[in-house]
C-alpha cells in the first residue's frame, strides 16, 4: 500500500467496481444516522454522482474512503437537520458525535460489517436462516420446529454453512494478512 496508486474514477468500469464494492459498508455506516433505507440509498447515490462529475483524484483507497465517510457524515447530519420531525434525533446524533470524535472506529465497524456480509453473500437464504438460529444457541431440534423443516435439513444446512465458512475465511484471512 505504497503511494502512487492513484484512484481516478473517470473510467466507468472502475467507478462501478468501487461503487458496488463499497455500497454495503457505506449503507451500514449511513443507516446509523438515518433509519429510512430509501433515503440512505439516495444519499449514497447523490454523493457518487457528484464524485463522477468532479475532477477529484484520490491518492489511494484510504483517501477515497476518508472522503466518502466524512462527506456521508455531513450529508446525513444535513438531512436530519432539514427534517423537522427528526430534530430530536439530530440533536442526539450531534451530541453523540461531539462526544465521540473517532471516525476511525466507525469505519472499522462498517468495514467489518461489509466483510461479514460479503463472506455470507453466496450462501442460500435457507442456509443463512438456519445458521443464524444456530448462532443464537438454539438446538437443531428447536430450529427444525421454528422453521418447519426436518432435523436432517437443519443438519445439512449447518454442515454446508460451516464448510463454506471455512473456505471463505481462509481466503479472507489471506487478504487480511496482506495488509499486515
Amino acid at each position: 500500500m505504497k503511494g502512487g496508486n492513484y484512484i481516478n474514477l473517470k473510467d466507468i468500469d472502475d467507478f462501478q467496481r468501487y461503487y458496488v464494492r463499497m455500497f454495503p459498508e457505506l449503507k451500514y455506516f449511513t443507516a446509523k444516522y438515518i433509519e429510512d433505507e430509501a433515503v440512505v440509498s439516495d444519499i449514497i447515490q447523490d454523493l457518487w454522482l457528484k464524485l463522477w462529475e468532479s475532477e477529484i483524484v484520490f491518492s489511494g483507497e484510504s483517501a477515497l474512503k476518508a472522503y466518502l465517510y466524512r462527506t456521508l457524515h455531513n450529508e446525513a447530519l444535513n438531512y436530519l437537520r432539514t427534517q423537522t420531525r427528526e430534530q430530536e434525533r439530530y440533536q442526539a446524533m450531534e451530541d453523540w458525535y461531539e462526544g465521540e470524535p473517532d471516525m476511525l472506529n466507525r469505519m472499522i465497524e462498517s468495514e467489518l460489517y461489509a466483510m461479514l456480509n460479503e463472506t455470507f453473500s453466496h450462501l442460500s437464504p435457507a442456509c443463512k436462516k438456519v445458521y443464524v438460529e444456530s448462532l443464537k444457541g438454539k438446538s437443531q431440534k428447536e430450529i427444525a420446529e421454528s422453521l418447519h423443516i426436518s432435523v436432517n435439513t437443519v443438519k445439512k444446512h449447518i454442515n454446508n454453512a460451516n464448510h463454506y465458512m471455512r473456505e471463505q475465511l481462509k481466503k479472507l484471512l489471506v487478504l487480511l494478512a496482506a495488509f499486515h
Binding site: 454495503p24 454522482l49 462529475e53 465497524e109 487480511l176 494478512a177 499486515h180
Partner: protein, 378 residues
C-alpha cells in the same frame, strides 16, 4: 523510560477483531487486542458491538450485495442523463437519438437471439408463460399482462363466454421460462420450466382443482372446508393447507411430491398415503407409492431462485438445467452421466457459471455449442 503501548493501525485492529469473531486469536493477539480495548472506551465499545449477536445476524442476513447491484443500475442511468444534459440543448436530442438507437439494437438483438446463444453463453430462464383459453386462443403472459389481472377483467364483464365450470385454461411455460400465478388469495402456484397447469376458468372455493404436467411449487393457505386438489395423471394430491413441490415430467420414472410444511394426502389407483413435513412420496408407474425423509430444500430450491444438488448424478442435473437454460446435453461416454456433483447457486447465473462449478473437480470438460451442451472426459 517506560515502554509505550504499541499503537495499532486500522487494518491491524480490523484483522484482530475479525479473528476474534471467528474465535481464532492466538494468546499474543488476544493480549494485543485487550491492550487496544483498554486504551479507550470507544475501542471497548467497538469490540463489544462487532461481536454482538445482533451485529452478526444483521451482517449475515442483509441482502446488501443485491441492493448494491440494483442501486448501481439506477446510478448508471443518472450518470448517462447528466452527461448529456450538460451544455447545449441539442445534446438532449443527441442523447435521445442515442438512447433510441440503443433500444432498437437491443430489441433487434433480443428478437433474433433470445433463447439461443451465439457466443456460447446460455442465459438463465426468465418469467414467461402462455395461456391457452378454452377456445384455443393463445395469450402471452408477462409483466404487463398477468393471468390474475386478465381474469379479474374478464370476471368484471357482463358477457363472459369463457368462464364456466366446464371450460378450462391451460398455463404453459416453455423451456427457459417460469411463471407464478395466484388463483385466489390463499393460493400461489409457481410453475417451473416446460410445465403446464390446467385450471377451471371459474376457479373458486367450490371448484379448487388443477391438473399438472411438469414441475410446480404450491403454497396453499389452510381452508379445511374447501380442499384443493392437484391431479397429475399418476396420482391425485389432496391438500388442506401447506407448502410442497411436485415433479411430474413425462420422461421421469417417478412422480415426486416433496412436503415442506403442513399435510397432504396422495391417492393413486393403487394406494393412498399421508405425507408429513420433510417427507417425499414417490409414485411409481404402477401406482405403487413409497416415501422417505429428504432434505426438502434440495427439491424445492428452484422456487427460492436457487439451483441446489447434493451428490446428484450429472445426468439428472443437466436434464433439469436443460429445461431452465434451454439446452440438450450429450455425453462422450456413459460413465460421465453417472458422475455425482453437489452445488448450491443462484439460478439467475449464466450457464457458464454452473459449468465452471462442474468443471472445478477436474473430472469433466463442458463445451457449449449453440443450444447443445457436450460433456467430455478431461
Amino acid at each position: 523510560m517506560m515502554r509505550s503501548k504499541k499503537q495499532l493501525s486500522k487494518d491491524e485492529v480490523k484483522r484482530l477483531l475479525y479473528k476474534r469473531l471467528l474465535g481464532i486469536l492466538s494468546p499474543e493477539e488476544a493480549q494485543e487486542l485487550a491492550d487496544w480495548e483498554a486504551q479507550d472506551s470507544g475501542n471497548e465499545q467497538l469490540a463489544r458491538t462487532v461481536t454482538s449477536l445482533s451485529f452478526i445476524e444483521k451482517a449475515v442476513t442483509d441482502p446488501s450485495h443485491r441492493q448494491a447491484e440494483e442501486s448501481w443500475k439506477v446510478l448508471r442511468h443518472r450518470i448517462g442523463y447528466h452527461k448529456f444534459r450538460i451544455g447545449h440543448r441539442s445534446y438532449v436530442y443527441i442523447a435521445a437519438a442515442v438512447v433510441l438507437l440503443g433500444f432498437l439494437l437491443v430489441a433487434g438483438y433480443r428478437y433474433y437471439y433470445i433463447g439461443e446463444s451465439k457466443s456460447g453463453i446460455l442465459r438463465a430462464g426468465t418469467e414467461k408463460a402462455f395461456v391457452y383459453l378454452s377456445d384455443g386462443e393463445r395469450m402471452e403472459m408477462n409483466d404487463h399482462l398477468r393471468y390474475e389481472v386478465y381474469m379479474q377483467q374478464e370476471k368484471g364483464k357482463k358477457q363472459r363466454p369463457d368462464i364456466s365450470p366446464n371450460l378450462f385454461h391451460t398455463v404453459v411455460t416453455p423451456r427457459g421460462g417460469e411463471y407464478t400465478l395466484k388463483l385466489d388469495d390463499g393460493l400461489r402456484i409457481h410453475l417451473n420450466a416446460e410445465s403446464s397447469l390446467t385450471v377451471p376458468s371459474d376457479f373458486s372455493s367450490s371448484n379448487r382443482q388443477v391438473n399438472l404436467a411438469g414441475e410446480a411449487y404450491f403454497d396453499v393457505e389452510s381452508d379445511p372446508e374447501h380442499p384443493f386438489l392437484v391431479q397429475t395423471g399418476r396420482a391425485d394430491i389432496k391438500v388442506l393447507g401447506t407448502r410442497f413441490c411436485v415433479k411430474n415430467y413425462r420422461e421421469d420414472n417417478l412422480l415426486l411430491v416433496t412436503l415442506e410444511e403442513g399435510e397432504v394426502e396422495i391417492n393413486s389407483a393403487y394406494e393412498k398415503m399421508h405425507l408429513m413435513p420433510g417427507e417425499q412420496a414417490m409414485v411409481h408407474h404402477d401406482g405403487h407409492i413409497s416415501k422417505r425423509p429428504v432434505d426438502t430444500y434440495l427439491y424445492c430450491a428452484w422456487n427460492q431462485q436457487r439451483i441446489a444438488y447434493d451428490n446428484e448424478p450429472l445426468f439428472n442435473i443437466l436434464n433439469d438445467l436443460g429445461r431452465w437454460y434451454n439446452f440438450e446435453a450429450a455425453y462422450s461416454s456413459d460413465r460421465l452421466r453417472n458422475l455425482r456433483f453437489s452445488m448450491d447457486i443462484e439460478k439467475t447465473a449464466d450457464f457458464n457459471e454452473v459449468a465452471g462449478l462442474l468443471e472445478r473437480l477436474d473430472k469433466i470438460r463442458i463445451i457449449v455449442k449453440r443450444n447443445k451442451v457436450i460433456v467430455r472426459e478431461l
